[in-house]
Symmetry: C2
Subunit: 393 residues, 2 copies
Amino acid sequence: MKTVSVLGSTGSVGRSTVDLILSSPENFAVQVLTAQKNAELLAEQARKTKARKAVIGDESLRPFLSELLAGTGIEVAAGRQAVIDAGAEPADWVMAAIVGMAGLEPLLAAINQGCAVAIANKEPLVAAGPLVIALAHEKGTTLLPVDSEHNAIFQVFEPDNRSAVERLVLTASGGPFRTWAKEQIARATPAQAVAHPNWSMGAKISIDSASMMNKALEVIEAHYLFSMPPEKIEVLVHPQSVIHSMVEYADGSFLAQLGAPDMKTPIAYALAWPRRMQTSGARLDIGRLRQLDFSAPDHEKFPLLPLAYGCLRGGQSACVAFNAANEVAVAAFLQEKIGFTDIYRVVSEALEQNQQGGALQSLEDILLLDHTVRRLCESYINSFTSLKRAGHS
Amino acid sequence: MKTVSVLGSTGSVGRSTVDLILSSPENFAVQVLTAQKNAELLAEQARKTKARKAVIGDESLRPFLSELLAGTGIEVAAGRQAVIDAGAEPADWVMAAIVGMAGLEPLLAAINQGCAVAIANKEPLVAAGPLVIALAHEKGTTLLPVDSEHNAIFQVFEPDNRSAVERLVLTASGGPFRTWAKEQIARATPAQAVAHPNWSMGAKISIDSASMMNKALEVIEAHYLFSMPPEKIEVLVHPQSVIHSMVEYADGSFLAQLGAPDMKTPIAYALAWPRRMQTSGARLDIGRLRQLDFSAPDHEKFPLLPLAYGCLRGGQSACVAFNAANEVAVAAFLQEKIGFTDIYRVVSEALEQNQQGGALQSLEDILLLDHTVRRLCESYINSFTSLKRAGHS
């Protein structure tokens, strides 16, 4: 019986995690579930999993959640601090699946307790990689990557043979705009960008996938998770998303994990680790595969991807700015304030403005820089959208 | 410093093993090298590797080998028993690379000393799997498969998650006759059959690859090496030989090893295990791959393959007969005594004649049955080649 908590249980990864827990109830005892706003689903999940506690981030929803869980004996808490504290509630395993930088503090709280921590949100690792990794080392916490690429690498990465690793090969579907012309991409709508060809995911990550920013973030994530220098991390476009990533070793072996494009597999891997559990759902029928394609990414059409390598050379503050600017830009794009290729414009502007370089000493430094970059990007977006409006009128 | 011996050092796998040892001389101290007939190469290898002992199987070549090694201080031995004893000479690691059933007794001698044993010859496992595996368990010997397919599986097989293994997928290049019509295959010459599209190997294994007998033997080998029932072992034709084999787990993960078709990689893996070593030579350039194809094997064109499953159900004596008959038939084909599709005729005749079933108790039982089947097949071949000759004259 493994005691588990799910931070961000009503999001895409959180829902799948809860489904997997429910598929094997004899193996898991749920401690805490958290959500930001979706109190109904949170309450339903808490009832079904017989969770000990349910935490809602939005303080104003506390009475509603309490009402939904009345008579169940399930403890209720609310507010930002309660979400962070949820990570610290004793458990054998914590899923950190809160989207964006908001997930950083709850993640650190979970790592701090020294249990196994599944990481589904890449932003904290991108912005605070050194902090996250150092804490995990200090506490003896095993970090279990859930992103399908890093999960694939984790499955075939041999820690004892680290020095024999020649390359991590992150595969990329290429997203919905892989075959589009540059001019078409510039005119892409949110609906088109969200329509991923292979994976069903949240809006933010789908947009990142369309811009290949997702892969850029994954390069940074891989750098921290596997302690690999940027020059040993390569991206390869593989539209079928069958090979989820690979590790190349000095003896000429490439080890790879393959599967159907279904997040249930990496989530189940993390949940059952170091064992493996049964999953239902889509299976790769390798006998029916007729073709697997591979090609180098097009840096001209997807200029965010090469920026990742510059960020890693530029140090942690560049990574913070890279991530923060993108979060703001994607939100603006989803609100149709800016066009698709303006995402790159905002991110590169933020990197240009942020030339401080070097390491950031503390969580406060990171959050402050993150905040500053966000404000800068928001005003930058407002300035050029007003310009655009003025120009159009 | 690992002490190592190479049984069958002048064959294809043996030569590559010696090359790898010489590429990293500070890591290996060579104990014994053995060869059957090639005294010149054996002497050269022994000098270069500074081996402690050189053993030639053909007794009549002892004086010649002694002469070649005069003054080097390298010990010389000769004869069948000396080759078997070579396996028992203390070492940390032994490569068992003697072709065919002749490799069984030296292999057992190596396993008996409890060191790590690399198995490059599949016939002993096919004919004496239960004996080999039981002895390895008893002595705590790790068996390191060198065949590229089993080596691939070994690299991604999680012994602690054995019950979560749903399937072993052995990939097959399909051999040189994959695209040939059935009638063409029937008229194939030894030169055509030896010309493997991807791998450079010895004559016997190249013929086995052309008939897909090689894959049939590998199904049996995988059954014993990984304790998997026949229904969990599947063969998939993959002409590019890039994915060397896969393990499918219950959570939907397929773990695979990929690489260039170069035996140096699996040999280096076995030699360095549990570490990994650097190899030179052909590397898979995954960025240049344009396509990987997969299809089910054609049992009508390659009828030896499905026989493997029948043999596994029929028990060990069927496996002994299957292997022995094939060795005799391939030799006859190479001598142009029989046609290519007669190999199947000989093998299926041997299986039909051998209906004893069940397990064989001892090495003697196995060797006796092996001998009996060989005699039977030889006389069967002689009878129908005389008939043919009579018919032609």
